[in-house]
């Protein structure tokens, strides 16, 4: 090291020591099984400008090596298993079980009617109630869902997009009943509508009013829920729909740019909302490419925020992300093999520096996961966290010729896509014109062709097959859920103060028709036990419904 570099290193060390005083590392001393001491960080012998520009220290711009100065030596990632099915009562039981098993955060899966803003007794909901997640019709269900779970202690992630404002309002209301103030709440709503148009499909309203709802949430949370992640900008579903790793990062960042621009247009300050933007990526099969992808994404985002949006706060520049292993890589054939796939994908996410992780269950290509499968999935993370030592030094693959070359290349190709999308007029236009969807579909079709031509081998599917497979036990959702939810709704509608609801819904409608922030009105409606369908219908009337071309 030259003098300047030594100076920089000392500076980082000093900063890190101060950080450690506040956030101690997990152990005083890290070593291998052979008693070789493990340093916090390993660096090249020769530090040059290129290193500082591209990689720098962890916790330093552009955060390629990680967003915190100690990474997993300080705190492990949140182990956050996405779960929820059937009724609020059933899901509440599963959450308590997962927390007892050592899970460190909740992640709520809602059923499709909830995600699309239909009550359980709506004809559109037929067959779907309680299937892919828990059915929530009103605050009543939400109270049951979080019964005996202290909302000031757990952080909760909710996979909810088009009606995110309604579910967030319910969460705030449940917390209030528990005596927990909004500013104490920590968690995430997915709230990423653009990828719904691209890949996931649970949109309700057209893009413009949808973007306005999101901006309303940004503003509301900046004022009242400072610890809440207001959006989880998701590449996960884009990848599941068949995109490449480069496309996943490119389209996610393109969407992120669109959200930032929309918030700026609404008059918000960049450093007011940017620190609460979170991301969600996929961990796929190509091990090194995935690790490089996460590192490239961090560097790209830091640059975009600094150079394009002139963000000042360090937290605005940091790309924090949740990761989920790739459900679409799991096979229905020889399902136990999926445990191995998930373990390797999870390892890639951890080596890529994720902040939280969901590991998929082995039986997801067959049905919803059973309790046993969900437990093995959680255990997979725990084994990596506690047995392998990969958490003992920061960015262990940093400096690998291969990883760094891949990181650079992914960054370059993502920038090319971002330029194309900018030229088209941004992500919203690119989506409306079907550009992003077509790019993904092309990649998906090519992949399927490669599998069928056996250019791409999938173990157990087109190679190493067995004929007499034993069938695993599968989870079945009790079909009586639908009846139960309908019954609950009927009782609710009979017992609540319907006049108060009419007044609050009218107030919401009026606010929606102007530029006012709708969040406070939704919170009021929810507290009076207006249902999700009733609130969504008010907004449908004002905003209209999205019709894909």
């Amino acid at each position: 090291m030259g003098d300047i570099e030594k100076e920089q290193f000392k500076e980082w060390e000093g900063k890190t020591e101060a950080f450690i005083k506040k956030h101690p590392e997990r152990k005083d001393f890290f070593e291998t099984s052979s008693n070789i001491p493990i340093d916090r960080l390993y660096m090249p012998n020769e530090m040059d400008e290129a290193y500082i520009e591209k990689l720098n220290y962890p916790g330093e711009y552009p955060f390629t090596r990680g967003i915190q100065p100690t990474m997993y030596r300080g705190r492990l990632w949140s182990m956050r298993q996405y779960a929820g099915f059937s009724t609020a009562e059933e899901s509440n039981k599963r959450y308590k079980y997962l927390l007892e098993q050592g899970q460190t955060g909740l992640s709520v899966a809602f059923d499709l009617p909830t995600q699309i803003g239909y009550d359980s007794d709506d004809p559109h909901a037929k067959g779907e109630i309680g299937k892919v997640g828990v059915a929530i019709d009103s605050l009543k269900d939400m109270e049951i869902l979080f019964q005996d779970i202290p909302l000031d202690k757990v952080s909760t992630s909710m996979t909810i997009n088009a009606p995110a404002s309604i579910l967030l309002a319910m969460y705030i209301a449940v917390a209030e009943k528990q005596g927990v103030a909004p500013e104490q709440l920590s968690g995430t709503i997915q709230n990423d509508i653009l990828k719904e148009y691209i890949a996931r499909g649970t949109y309700i309203y057209p893009p413009k009013p949808s973007m306005r709802l999101i901006t309303n949430i940004f503003e509301y949370c900046a004022n009242y829920l400072p610890k809440w992640n207001t959006i989880s900008i998701s590449g996960y579903h884009i990848r599941e729909a068949g995109s490449t790793a480069v496309q996943e990062v490119a389209f996610t960042l393109a969407n992120a740019i669109a959200y930032v621009e929309s918030a700026l247009e609404a008059g918000l300050e960049i450093d007011e909302f940017a620190p609460r933007l979170a991301f969600f990526f996929n961990a796929h099969n190509q091990f090194f490419e995935e690790i490089a992808k996460f590192r490239a994404a961090r560097r790209l985002w830091a640059k975009i925020m600094k150079e394009r949006f002139h963000a000042k706060k360090e937290k605005s520049l940091q790309l924090r992300f949740h990761t989920q292993t790739a459900g679409s890589t799991l096979t229905a054939q020889q399902p136990d093999n999926n445990v191995v796939r998930v373990a390797i994908q999870a390892l890639a996410a951890i080596l890529g520096g994720t902040q939280s992780l969901h590991t998929n269950s082995r039986d997801e290509a067959l049905a919803l996961p059973t309790q046993d499968s969900a437990r093995i999935a959680l255990r997979t993370q725990q084994i990596i966290a506690y047995e392998t030592g990969v958490t003992d030094t920061i960015d262990p693959l940093g400096g690998s010729y291969y990883i760094e070359a891949l990181t650079d290349q992914i960054e370059k190709e993502v920038e090319e896509y971002l330029n194309i999308i900018d030229e088209m007029g941004g992500a919203v236009t690119a989506i409306e014109q079907g550009f992003i969807q077509r790019e993904i579909h092309k990649a998906a079709y090519q992949y399927q062709r490669d599998i069928e031509a056996e250019k791409q081998w999938i173990v157990g599917l087109n190679s190493f097959k067995i004929t007499d497979e034993t069938k695993p036990e599968l989870l079945r959702v009790d079909p009586s859920v639908a009846k139960l939810q309908e019954q609950k709704l009927k009782e609710l509608r009979d017992s609540r103060d319907n006049e108060a609801i009419a007044i609050r819904l009218a107030a919401l409608k009026q606010a929606a028709e102007t530029d006012e922030n709708v969040m406070p009105f939704i919170v009021e409606a929810v507290k009076a036990y207006a249902t999700i369908g009733e609130i969504a219908n008010v907004l449908r009337e004002v905003f209209g419904i999205y019709q894909p071309s």
């Binding site: 499709l112 559109h124 037929k126 499909g201 068949g242 290509a365 079709y445 959702v477």
Partner: protein, 275 residues
């Protein structure tokens, strides 16, 4: 021309996972079918109405949310109600094996679970749709009986085939109805027929005028010429004559117009059973 198989790929229910549906739609198009994709969130009523309006042969349903037991049977029930139960219904998605017998009982002919190849699905649709139309049994082509070659003069052409190639000359014959003089050579199981025009009215004369010497027609031996004719007519292939006529060696023959057979003049012949 044979009608293309028409398929409606549809997403009933609320789930937005259409990677599989889109890939299958594209794959079946590449297999030569006409495919319509419904888009997301279609009710069974919408799907059945679209299938009838678009006059499809097959509906492919895709669900990944677990709502298949409620929604698939609703589609087949509505098809029946609308007297359209002849439309083949198949399904795919995340569907447990244990549910398959139930769905089949309700008229969903096949369920394709994750890992199925596109070609497997295409084969299934083609198989069922041909079976329904009875396409398989009514063409009775057995083998190539002979290949016809037009020449100006038999005597000038024979030496090449007989002496140079060493083929056995089976004989020469005048077929007055066709205005030709022919020579047959034996080539393994099949034969070559050289044709020389007898007069200016002969189709061979016209062929030579237009295209010169060379390949003229391919003749398939069939079991039942009348039935073959009916079958061709049913499928819209124009015949050059209404009834079989006499060909060389006492065979019954008939020709299909080359404009519908990729410019190849096709002859069918039936060898009379010797008494």
């Amino acid at each position: 021309m044979q009608k293309k198989i028409r398929v409606l790929i549809a997403k009933p229910g609320l789930d937005g996972h259409d990677r599989g549906a889109l890939v299958i739609a594209q794959g079946l198009r590449d297999e030569g079918m006409e495919v319509i994709y419904s888009g997301l969130r279609q009710t069974p009523e919408q799907i059945v109405a679209a299938a009838i309006q678009e006059d499809v042969d097959c509906i492919g349903l895709s669900i990944l949310s677990g709502a298949h037991n409620e929604l698939f049977p609703e589609v087949t029930r509505l098809l029946k109600e609308n007297h359209a139960e002849d439309i083949l219904v198949i399904g795919g998605g995340v569907i447990p094996d244990d549910d398959i017998p139930f769905l089949q009982k309700h008229g969903i002919k096949a369920i394709f679970t994750p890992g199925t190849s596109i070609s497997e699905i295409a084969q299934f649709i083609k198989g069922v749709s041909l079976e329904d139309k009875g396409t398989v049994s009514n063409s009775s082509v057995k083998k190539i009986d002979h290949l016809g070659i037009a020449v100006h003069h038999l005597d000038e052409a024979i030496p090449f085939f007989q002496d140079v190639l060493g083929l056995k000359l089976l004989g020469k014959e005048e077929v007055v109805t066709e205005g030709v003089k022919v020579a047959f050579f034996e080539v393994g199981e099949t034969k070559l027929e050289l044709l020389e025009p007898l007069n200016k009215e002969s189709p061979i004369y016209k062929h030579l005028e237009k295209r010169g010497e060379g390949f003229h027609h391919i003749a398939f031996e069939v079991d039942n010429l009348i039935q073959q004719f009916d079958w061709m007519k049913e499928n819209g292939f124009p015949l050059l004559q209404d009834k079989p006529k006499d060909g060389a060696h006492g065979k019954k023959v008939g020709f299909i117009h080359p404009k519908s057979t990729h410019k190849v003049l096709v002859e069918f012949c039936e060898i009379p059973i010797k008494e």
